[in-house]
């Protein structure tokens, strides 16, 4: 009995040692020499009522850089108010706003639902004068693609009186914008999910779209339905 216990303990120790040593050197190299992230110091602006991040907790994330290189396992948050990616550098314990033009795509991996895939697209501003880079969540990608900008906007103000002083708290909330990329590579933006707006975008496919929605019992009132419709359009219409 004693011997078995002794040998078992010995084997456990050896096993742990074996596991520690079994390192794959090739992957080590990739980690050591992974590209360096660039950006500037970020300090969160306080005084808002509501959440300015798409997902408030730091998410273990992978990043595809504009150089084509990948960076794995960094802690990221997407700030919908600024439309910027915030990086927690755990080595020096500071937060940084990553250079937008350096980030092509990123994957928030431990967000509550599943892996959320964002990418940077270049779209015309609503004024129609300038073009700008924005980060969008990928809804569907195909001949027709649907991208969702997880925009967080100021939706109102709240006045609070304390000791005779008035404090103004800005209320912020999610105001997603939907970008549809047409086969001609043109982007069209919709701010509200409306069946009419979609049918207006595809006048030639109007009948087919209505048929599809009926056949799949899609009432086109939720974001999920919007994604399903675009997905079906790619599969059955385009």
């Amino acid at each position: 009995m004693k011997h078995y216990l002794y040998f078992s303990f010995l084997l456990i120790c050896i096993s742990i040692n074996a596991q520690t040593n079994a390192s794959t050197k090739v992957s080590e190299v990739d980690t050591i020499f992974s590209p360096k992230l660039t950006g500037e110091t970020f300090i969160e602006k306080k005084g808002y009522k509501g959440e300015q991040f798409f997902y408030k907790d730091w998410a273990e994330s992978d990043i595809l850089l504009s150089t084509g290189e990948m960076v794995y396992g960094e802690k990221l948050k997407y700030n919908g108010l600024l439309d910027e990616v915030i990086w927690a550098n755990t080595s020096i314990n500071q937060q940084f706003k990553l250079d937008k033009l350096y980030v092509s795509e990123f994957w928030l991996k431990n967000a509550p639902s599943a892996i959320i895939h964002f990418k940077r697209i270049n779209v015309g501003e609503p004024t129609g004068v300038h073009r700008s880079d924005i980060f969008v969540e990928i809804g569907v990608e195909g001949k027709v693609s649907l991208y969702i900008q997880r925009k967080i906007s100021i939706v109102g103000e709240e006045n609070i009186y304390l000791n005779g002083t008035q404090y103004i708290l800005e209320s912020i909330g999610a105001m997603p914008l939907y970008y549809i990329k047409l086969p001609s590579n043109r982007y069209l933006m919709i701010s509200k999910i409306r069946r009419k707006a979609l049918l207006k975008l595809f006048p030639e496919q109007k009948k087919a779209i209505i048929k599809l929605m009926r056949a799949n019992h899609l009432d086109f009132k939720s974001e999920g339905d919007f994604i399903k419709v675009i997905d079906l359009l790619n599969k059955e219409v385009f």
Binding site: S8, S15, A18, S23
Partner: protein, 575 residues
């Protein structure tokens, strides 16, 4: 008690499994190399065509680990005089290098290795001896390899993994030769050489012999984990030491940059042995590298030392004896052929390889918009402090105790205690601000500025000042004692061999003598049918060896050889 027994058995099984995992992990980077050259005897000044195979030393299959290999050439008891770095693609690399025409006649050694092989000691490296004769050496009293160290069966023709067939065995001058390579087990990539039999005893080994002769080497205990496999490019290795005490300096940050129109940076921290390693992508090929130590403490005498990746611990001391004269005839003939070809300017065996698209990535310091100042748009200013006062309102240049300091007024929140901006001149991190102080409007083309607290990996800078000079002023600066400048080598590709069709030569009176009739480093065998290739004989009447080396997709080494005789047809007919 039964439960305990079961647990014990389970633990034993687990231990065995984990030990296997451990062995596998250790041998991941266990590689072996084989290098085939077009010939084994050359005249100084000729090109050596090569094909390098990098294989897994355990499985003998293609190794997908190393992407860089090193090839060097050395004479007995001397340091390497020819060093080339090659890029490995699908476990192979091919190209050529030119032998210096001043080489003395003698036996030389080619050594080929990868960094991963260094962990197993130099005995794992590939070694091969070649004979080089000087074109003007008429005495030919040089030593050759001791015939006792040569296996007498070595020069026998053999076929392993594939068979070679020719349409004839005896050919006339300038006649087409068709060679058929038999079926192989699976698809294979082989290198083929057809060269004149040098009649010199050779230590040349086939790929099969090399792989079979591999020792089951254990990693060098002192070297294990020392050399990382270069699976993405060359790794620059160096040390930071105290120049006075020669002690290793740990936790020092070494910065690397090179001249460019955009500031670029890479860095590494030294470990407890003072060692740092920086991955050099293709971007750095052929560039001058500027290395320095960040935040160098005052009154310290640190310096950077770079490891020579080609350094070998032991010199090559072969057993050589004076040649008994058998090889003299061949060498004199070779000298004459080279002499004739040079006289008629017929050295057209080489064509440059097409330059592949350079996909190198510059490690930029920032990827955002900057504010730019062009001093030429303003009244000429004498030096940088004047430019800062007049044109750069967010830059402060102070002079304290005879030393200049630069500060950038940061327009956003600051978190770090470091108050130094990153200053770059012509893309290079400046180790001393005094190097830019003397630059005025005459010298400066452009100044880019960032007045935010910047991050690059784990390095934080209080703003960025990037100066681009009109005439690459960084080259004229002297590196600080703790900085280093060195030239990074270029990946060797060499030229491709061109087989000439003698029938295309219009003037039939021009001599056409070749000792190398055919060289193809990448002949693909499809595994199901035989593969043919063809070439032409020259005016050189001799016995020619057809040598094929390679590896199939399933990891079977292929080694085959055959021979043909080239005679003067008139003489044959006469007989």
């Amino acid at each position: 008690m039964i439960l305990l027994k079961k647990t014990f058995i389970l633990l034993v099984v687990q231990l065995v499994a984990l030990t296997c995992c451990n062995i596998n992990a250790q041998v991941t980077a266990s590689e072996a190399a084989y290098l085939q050259t077009d010939r084994t005897a050359y005249i100084a000044g000729e090109s050596v065509f090569y094909k390098l195979y990098v294989l897994d030393a355990i499985t003998k299959k293609r190794s997908e680990i190393s992407k860089v290999a090193y090839v060097l050439l050395r004479a007995a008891n001397s340091n390497p005089f020819l060093k080339i770095r090659v890029k490995i693609d699908s476990c192979t690399a091919s190209g050529s290098f030119e032998l210096p025409d001043t080489l003395a006649s003698g036996v030389y050694q080619i050594v080929a290795f990868t960094m991963a092989m260094k962990n197993f000691g130099e005995q794992r490296f590939f070694h091969k001896e070649i004979v080089i004769s000087n074109r003007f050496d008429k005495d030919l009293d040089f030593k050759l390899m001791n015939s006792n160290s040569i296996d007498s069966n070595k020069n026998k023709l053999h076929n392993i993994g594939c068979e070679i067939k020719t349409n004839k065995t005896v050919y006339g001058l300038r006649e087409k030769v068709v060679v058929s390579m038999g079926k192989t087990n699976s698809k294979a990539n082989v290198s083929v050489s057809v060269f004149e039999d040098p009649k010199i005893l050779s230590t040349d080994k086939s790929i099969v012999e090399t792989l079979n002769g591999l020792l089951v080497a254990q990693p060098d205990k002192h070297a294990i984990n020392k050399y990382l496999p270069e699976n993405n490019g060359k790794i620059l290795r160096g040390r930071v030491i105290d120049a006075t005490t020669q002690k290793n300096i740990s936790a020092a940050t070494v910065l690397l940059s090179c001249t460019d129109t955009i500031p670029n940076l890479q860095y590494a921290s030294t470990n407890s042995n003072g060692l740092f390693q920086i991955l050099l992508s293709d971007y750095y090929n052929g560039k001058e590298l500027f290395l320095t130590i960040k935040d160098m403490p005052a009154n310290q005498h640190w310096k950077i030392e770079i490891e020579d990746e080609f350094a070998l611990s032991e010199k090559w001391s072969p057993s050589l004896i004076f040649d008994n004269g058998n090889s003299n005839g061949f060498i004199v003939k070779s000298q004459n052929i080279v002499y004739i070809n040079k006289s008629y300017q017929l050295n057209n065996d080489l064509i440059d390889k097409p330059i592949s698209e350079n996909k190198s990535i510059c490690p930029q310091l920032y990827h955002c918009s900057v504010s730019t100042v062009l001093p030429s748009d303003f009244v000429p200013l004498n030096d940088f402090p004047e430019i800062a006062v007049e044109l750069l309102p967010l830059v402060r240049i102070n002079k304290e105790n005879g030393k200049y300091n630069a500060h950038v007024i940061i327009g956003s929140p600051v978190v770090s205690n470091n108050n130094h901006p990153a200053i770059f001149l012509d893309g290079v991190y400046v180790d001393d601000i005094n190097k830019i102080i003397g630059l005025g409007s005459e010298q400066i083309k452009k100044i880019d500025m960032l007045n935010t607290e910047r991050i690059f990996g784990d390095l934080v800078f209080q703003g960025v000042i990037s100066i681009i000079s009109k005439s690459n002023e960084i080259v004229n600066t002297t590196p600080a004692s703790y900085s280093l400048r060195l030239k990074n080598d270029i990946i060797n590709t060499g030229g491709n061999f061109v087989a000439v069709n003698p029938n295309s030569i219009q003037n039939k009176d021009i001599p056409f003598f070749k000792q190398l009739l055919y060289w193809n480093p990448n002949l693909e065998l499809n595994g199901t049918n035989s593969t043919n290739f063809e070439f032409y004989t020259s005016d050189n009447t001799a016995k020619f060896i057809i040598k094929v080396e390679g590896i199939s997709e399933d990891g079977t080494p292929i080694s085959a050889s055959s021979s043909i005789q080239v005679n003067n047809q008139i003489n044959v007919t006469d007989k």
